[in-house]
Symmetry: C2
Subunit: 179 residues, 2 copies
DNA sequence: AAATAACTGAACATATTGTTCAGTATCTTA
DNA sequence: TAAGATACTGAACAATATGTTCAGTTATTT
């Protein structure tokens, strides 16, 4: 990618995250972002269509990183072994823990829910592969979704409670999951 | 309350829910709401400050109903008996099931997350009273929050999956909770 | 019937949005 | 390194939304 483009993208993302934590999503105008990022008006519009579009792009870029090293492993590992799932999830926790400063701000802002939706969609895919059977009478779909929302909400909880390691948090999550 | 006021409020709420399901939150302008509700511009602003304010008022009014008959019971019932909690929650499911047409639209829209936040806050209060002890090593706060998000998310799941009764859904939720 | 309170709707200043375009800077590749 | 392609700039534009004000109308209460 052209260095000019990625420079612009980074400037916009940084400005946006700053503004999100300062003023929230709805109070942040595109004009604010342009001024803060110090780019031309038409440049913004050549990269993003709307503020929503920008938010989606930001979430995508974050999860590209957190889930990036998953795909290759998916092929070679046996997911029917529970410990692999646990390792996989811990790995995601490490990633998110490293970009905490970034993620914490987004989750605390109005647009935290959009972030959560992305996260959950990704997780749903992970759990759908893993879960083979559910208790009698429980819809498969419910069981899968429940894992995804529990894990994503656990992360949101973590981001607003300092002092826990990824392993701690994995322990909390797993305690209710493991069976 | 003056009949004129409640008439205006209802007209605005109805117009708003319609527009939410049609266009989503961010694409709905205050002007849209005013036109659809067929009220004067200044009337809207004498009732609500902003679109956000309106959304909050709408959520409040819905939960006033769903949680309304809780308070009196709270005094007379013994919450350390698990079956009371289950009845309490089932009761909420009935309420939400009755106003499904209303709630389903909001939950499916952009502003579903705001609705969820309200719901969860209410539920957190309910569970905080109920939960006296948690497993060794699990933060109390996490355990309580987890119940609240599990129940609220279960409702959201229900609202996008037709054909289940309140009892069915209570069964799904309780299966993972009951211990 | 009089007093009080709510609604109306036009008019207003202000601000944001999304687009266009001619000019400038940067990158690529031949 | 020169030429061509690509990206950025920033001013100007029309269109739209916002939030406020106020004099006039209608409904409710006492």
């Amino acid at each position: 990618m052209d260095r000019r483009q990625s420079k612009t993208r980074k400037a916009v993302f940084n400005a946006f995250v700053e503004l999100l934590t300062e003023k929230g999503y709805s109070n942040t105008t595109i004009q604010d972002i342009i001024s803060r990022a110090d780019i031309g008006r038409s440049t913004f519009y050549s990269h993003f269509q709307t503020k929503d579009d920008l938010l989606n792009a930001l979430c995508e870029s974050i999860f590209d990183h957190a889930f990036s090293e998953q795909s290759p492993k998916e092929e070679s590992h046996d997911f029917s072994d529970r410990r692999d799932l646990r390792g996989e999830l811990t790995h995601i926790l490490y990633h998110l823990g490293e970009s905490r400063g970034y993620v914490e701000g987004i989750l605390a802002s109005e647009s935290g829910d959009v972030f959560m939706r992305y996260f959950r969609d990704q997780l749903t895919g992970v759990f759908r592969k893993e879960i083979k059977e559910v208790p009698e009478g429980i819809p498969m779909d419910y069981a899968v979704e429940r894992c995804a929302w529990d894990f994503s909400e656990t992360v949101r909880w973590w981001m607003s409670h300092d002092g826990y390691s990824p392993e701690d948090v994995m322990g909390f999550f797993w305690h209710y999951m493991g069976r």
